[in-house]
């Protein structure tokens, strides 16, 4: 009896083994992986290539909760999962593990979204003190570049004497100090470090690696050149250095910032360059002119004329480049009031109009009057001082742009990706995950051979799973980008946790390299 029972078991298992030549695979899913719905669909139907028995079916909803109110039914090749009536808005994950006839388990996951795909927009934590300091140092840099370098240029090329020397020198020192501090603060902000960490190298090196690094270095060089020009005994040397410093102002601004990095760059970078130089020309002249007017200097009138002759085209350049950049950045008039970036631009534009009004007043009313009565300079002094105040307001407003992404960028917020490095004897994969938080994540796969040279792959696949939550592998094919890297875009990762990634690179028809690692997905 025992023998017969045993034999029967053996025979039945052999039958299973030889008869059921099958490897369960998902043939189709309804809704399909990645679907988006207005409201919760009634059910999800999974169809396999053969009869399967459900082993574990899990629904993890958009708020990360494993739901126990789902119904599971199976009929032959189909598994039907009845969904709860109302699922939260966002991306839900359905993970399945089924047993095929031959006892082989097979598993996978599919995603569907209700209302909208869970967004991964990260709201950077606001840190008032650091933000305030960044803003102040930014204003400092502007003062150095515009009042300082611009002032030196005015003294070397337009003006006479050393009117406003203290302000110009002061501006340069404030600017140099601001530039250095700005760099450190940028690093502090970037790495989310406490202020005290400014004494360590980490924030500095990371800040230098951003576009602000070269920008501030150029600014420092420009201000140093201006200082040298100021101290130079030779007029020729002073003029050359001052002109170079002015070019540095434009270059520094064009090297960084939202406007300079906006597409199309052939337009925006030169526009920012010219805009910066024009601002420096104008703002730099204000204090020396006010001082000349206050002293009722004899040379005031000729200097004013020299300044005005160039000022007209400079203002034209200023307005034209400013408008161009505003159009590129805003994309719509509505954005002027609807976004913080737009609001700052509105404030700035209003102040610029006041400034232009004051400039017109000086040019067309006050300066001609001086010709009749050279001693009556007080209205001009008052007007120029008002210009200085307005200009300072503009700089303060513009420094605030550091904290507001332009509408152009609001769609794809810039985030620092998570880097995962997987290295074995045969291969080295570098994976960038951004933003590595719950929501839509993008993956860049940099595939290299063991010695670091590019690995020519024919296909690459990314498979994600979260064993701790029982989420079965979610497979996505990567696309080869023009940059030579493999990309998997917008994988809606619904829950935080330590995810497992497996990357398979097909090298030849018969050879593939598989590397695996874990990585952390943070909360939003």
């Amino acid at each position: 009896m025992r023998l017969i029972a045993g034999l029967a078991t053996l025979v039945s298992v052999f039958c299973l083994a030889s008869g059921a030549f099958a490897h369960a695979a998902l043939v189709s899913a309804e809704p399909a992986d990645g679907s988006l719905f207005e409201s919760t669909p009634k059910s999800v139907r999974l169809r396999f290539n053969e009869s399967v028995t459900p082993a574990v079916i899990r629904l993890i909803d958009a708020v990360g909760k494993t739901r126990d109110d789902i119904g599971i039914g199976s009929a032959g090749e189909d598994i039907v999962v009845t969904l709860p009536d109302h699922l939260p808005q966002g991306t839900q994950i359905l993970s399945y593990r089924v047993i095929s006839q031959d006892g082989h388990p097979a598993g996978g996951s599919l995603l569907f979204s209700i209302g909208a795909v869970t967004k991964g927009a990260v709201e950077p934590a606001h840190r008032d003190v650091v933000d305030g300091l960044i803003w102040l140092t930014r204003i400092g840099v502007y003062l150095g570049l515009f009042a300082g370098v611009g002032g030196v240029f005015f003294a070397a090329w337009i003006g006479q004497g050393n009117g406003g020397a203290n302000v110009i020198r002061g501006g340069l020192f404030v600017g140099l100090l601001g530039a250095v501090a700005s760099l450190g603060l940028q690093g502090i902000d970037l790495l989310d470090l406490p202020l005290g960490a400014v004494a360590t190298p980490a924030p500095w090196t990371s800040a230098l690696a951003t576009s602000l690094g070269p920008s501030l270095l150029i600014a420092i060089a420009a201000m140093a050149a201006a200082l040298m020009a100021w101290r130079s005994a030779s007029r020729t040397v002073a003029r050359a250095l001052a002109a170079a410093a002015m070019a540095g102002v434009g270059l520094s601004l064009a090297a960084s910032g939202h406007a300079a990095t906006a597409p199309p760059q052939w337009l925006t970078r030169p526009a920012v360059f010219l805009h910066g130089i024009a601002v420096a020309y104008w703002v730099g002249a204000l204090v020396p002119l006010a001082v000349l007017a206050w002293r009722r200097a004899d040379c005031l009138l000729p200097v004013l004329h020299r300044f005005s002759n160039l000022a007209a085209p400079v203002v034209a350049v200023l307005v034209l480049t400013g408008l161009t950049l505003a159009v590129v950045q805003l994309e719509s008039f509505h954005a002027l009031i609807a976004t913080n970036y737009g609001l700052i631009l509105s404030v700035k534009t209003s102040l610029v109009i006041v400034l232009l009004g004051l400039a017109a007043l000086n040019r067309f009313r006050l300066t001609p009057r001086l010709a009749f009565n050279p001693l009556k300079t007080r209205p001009l002094v008052r007007s120029i001082l008002a210009e200085c105040g307005v200009a300072l307001g503009i700089l303060a407003a513009v420094a605030g742009w550091r904290f507001t992404p332009p509408p152009r960028l609001l769609v794809d917020a810039v985030v620092t990706p998570l880097t995962i490095h997987i290295h074995t004897e045969t291969a080295m994969f570098q994976v960038l995950v951004s933003p590595a938080t719950v929501g839509a994540d993008s993956f860049v796969l940099q595939l290299m051979t063991g010695d670091g040279s590019p690995l020519p792959a024919r296909q690459a696949t990314l498979t994600l799973s979260l064993p701790a939550r029982g989420i079965e592998p979610l497979e996505r094919a990567a696309q080869l980008g023009a940059d030579g890297y493999w990309h998997v875009r917008d994988v809606a990762i619904p829950v935080a946790g330590r995810w497992h990634m497996r990357i398979e690179a097909l090298v030849t028809d018969f050879e593939k390299i598989t590397l695996e690692d874990d990585f952390d997905v943070g909360e939003r």
């Binding site: 078991t9 083994a17 030549f21 099958a22």
Partner: protein, 174 residues
């Protein structure tokens, strides 16, 4: 032997028998001595996720020579020749090149049927006994491709990988 013990024994035998026979493209003869002829019979158990098989490509590992694919009614068989990594003595002559890939095409194997594809080979004495020898195989279907090309780590369970390559355990020369 108690009833429980006996059942466990049966279950163990059954599990051993069942697991290799399962779901993948496999080799029928799972053990073979080196320095001897070997008939490699590739068993294709099913299509690619429900689609009919229309092509089977087998890569011949180094050290396996003197290939003779068996003709198969309804299928064309093609071979790709290349240089071997080393020279091999075979029946008194030196072989430095030969078949490195065998391709069956032109036929159609419905998704739920299984079939066998045979190659007569010679396993040279250069192969290491007591190790696994793998024949990476690509199964092309009307829709999709299954690549049975995963080679498990030494001593690893072939089921740890998703799509193991068909393999044969090499035995010492007789």
């Amino acid at each position: 032997m108690s009833m429980v013990g006996y059942s466990l024994f049966v279950a163990a035998v059954a599990a051993f028998a069942a697991s290799p026979a399962g779901a993948h493209v496999t080799l029928e003869n799972r053990e073979a001595p080196v320095g001897a002829p070997y008939r490699a019979v590739f068993v294709v158990p099913h299509g690619c996720a429900g689609s009919a098989t229309i092509k089977l490509r087998v890569e011949i590992p180094e050290g396996v020579i003197a290939m003779e694919p068996a003709p198969k009614p309804g299928w064309n068989v093609d071979v790709v020749k290349a240089k071997y990594a080393a020279d091999y003595d075979y029946q008194g002559s030196k072989l430095s090149e030969g078949i490195k890939e065998v391709v069956w095409s032109g036929g159609k194997l419905p998704p739920h049927q299984h079939d066998e594809f045979t190659i007569d080979t010679y396993l040279t004495g250069s192969l290491k006994p007591d190790s696994m020898l793998y024949f990476p195989t690509v199964q092309e279907c009307e829709q999709g491709i299954s690549r049975w090309i995963d080679i498990p780590a030494e001593g690893g369970d072939p089921h740890d990988t998703g799509s193991p390559a068909p393999g044969v355990k090499l035995m010492p020369k007789r």
